[in-house]
Symmetry: none
Subunit: 238 residues, 2 copies
């Protein structure tokens, strides 16, 4: 750990450089799991930066699970260090079967999310769902406003689960679904479709309002099956 950082290097932030440097020490085995890192002050002087920069780097490594620290003791190398982020190749999603798989995954989560929402929703949640449905009601089927309101409804449902991880993932997927639908652009929906979709949404809202988890689950399942057909995916049993 005798690397001195050059200030002339105007690329990333200093904390990023420090973090990668420590990360490299761990990866190369010069710092083993359980080892105690030098003190923040020591790291600051060896890297030639302020202790503040070192702290930002440590905070980042800690959030990644590479190290853990305790007040009054020090920072230590963690035993397991896997990447805490999951990414999906954006290009691969353009293929039909990949999209179908993602849609399936979304369905599994969203159905359960509806059940949780029925158990945990607040009045504010219900209000958000209602206003989203109202917006959908006044917008023409398939329009941008309609899609936006639709997204808003599903977002309100998953927000009512009080589960931030579900929220994070479902919102990601919803964005992708929306992009894909917009890209397809052939939404020549009939009034029939509009009323059907609205009816499905209303059933979901009713079940969540009543606090009936099973009914909410089933209603969401029906809605997703219908949505899959309307999008062009033929799903027998999602």
């Amino acid at each position: 750990m005798t690397l001195k950082l050059d200030k002339v290097n105007r690329g990333p932030h200093l904390s990023t450089l420090v973090a990668s440097s420590i990360s490299r020490e761990i990866a190369q085995g010069r710092l083993n799991p359980g080892d105690q890192l030098p003190t923040e002050q020591a790291l600051a002087t060896t890297f030639g930066v302020s202790r503040n920069v070192v702290r930002e780097a440590i905070a980042r490594l800690r959030s990644e699970g590479r190290i853990w620290s305790q007040q009054g003791r020090g920072a230590f190398v963690a035993d397991v260090a896997n990447s805490p982020v999951l990414t999906i190749d954006h290009d691969a999603l353009q293929q039909a079967d990949a999209f179908k798989s993602l849609f399936e995954l979304r369905g599994a989560l969203e159905v359960k999310a509806a059940a949780f929402a029925a158990q945990r929703r607040t009045d504010a949640d219900l209000q958000a769902m209602k206003s989203a449905l109202a917006a959908m009601n006044t917008a023409p089927y398939g329009s941008v406003a309609w899609l936006k309101a639709d997204l808003e409804f599903h977002r309100a449902v998953v927000a009512a689960t009080r589960n931030s991880y579900m929220e994070q993932f479902l919102i990601f997927v919803s964005e992708r679904v929306r992009e894909s639908i917009l890209a397809a652009g052939n939404q020549q929906g009939s009034d029939d479709m509009a009323s059907t979709t609205l009816g499905e949404h209303n059933r979901i809202l009713d079940a969540i309002t009543a606090g009936d988890a099973n009914a909410a689950q089933e209603a969401m399942q029906l809605h997703l099956n219908g949505a899959a057909q309307r999008v062009g995916l033929h799903v027998n049993d999602l």
Copy 2:
């Protein structure tokens, strides 16, 4: 009886709270891609912390790809296209409710995965599940070999769904859950627990073998409820 504070119960760092809070604003759509975040000073005053803490939180969000910042301009919410699907912050996972949320997410996925597996499994899938169960049978409860075999069984189940995203996602989440459990400290298990767990697994395998989606779903749900109790989560309705 004096009880030492568990790692899970100990309050996380302020920067973690701030980071989660901002993350939530983004997830809930109150901050949209391209939006500029409040200044560090403003965030510091609104959260009631020093600007230093805000900077640590921002450094982490930046490393996760959720925001980007430029000196002299400000910090902005990153575009959805290159944002990660899911980020699991190890530091945040020390909070009990975050762990519960992640466990919930895993449950929602795994239950549905069991149903898909029952419909799509091949003989090779069944063989993989069987050998995993056999390995679990000969290993002592809670040992490394037992944990490995357990993971192998669940991996075989999700592999049988023929959905690569579900596989990728579920394995990712399961590993994070497992890490968190291991980090919280080892719990000693009785032979009673071992036989109970094995029985649950056998029922899952039977249902999948029979091709009964509903039974597989229920068996997996029972297994996860049991696992939640064994881990110490009091979950009545996962």
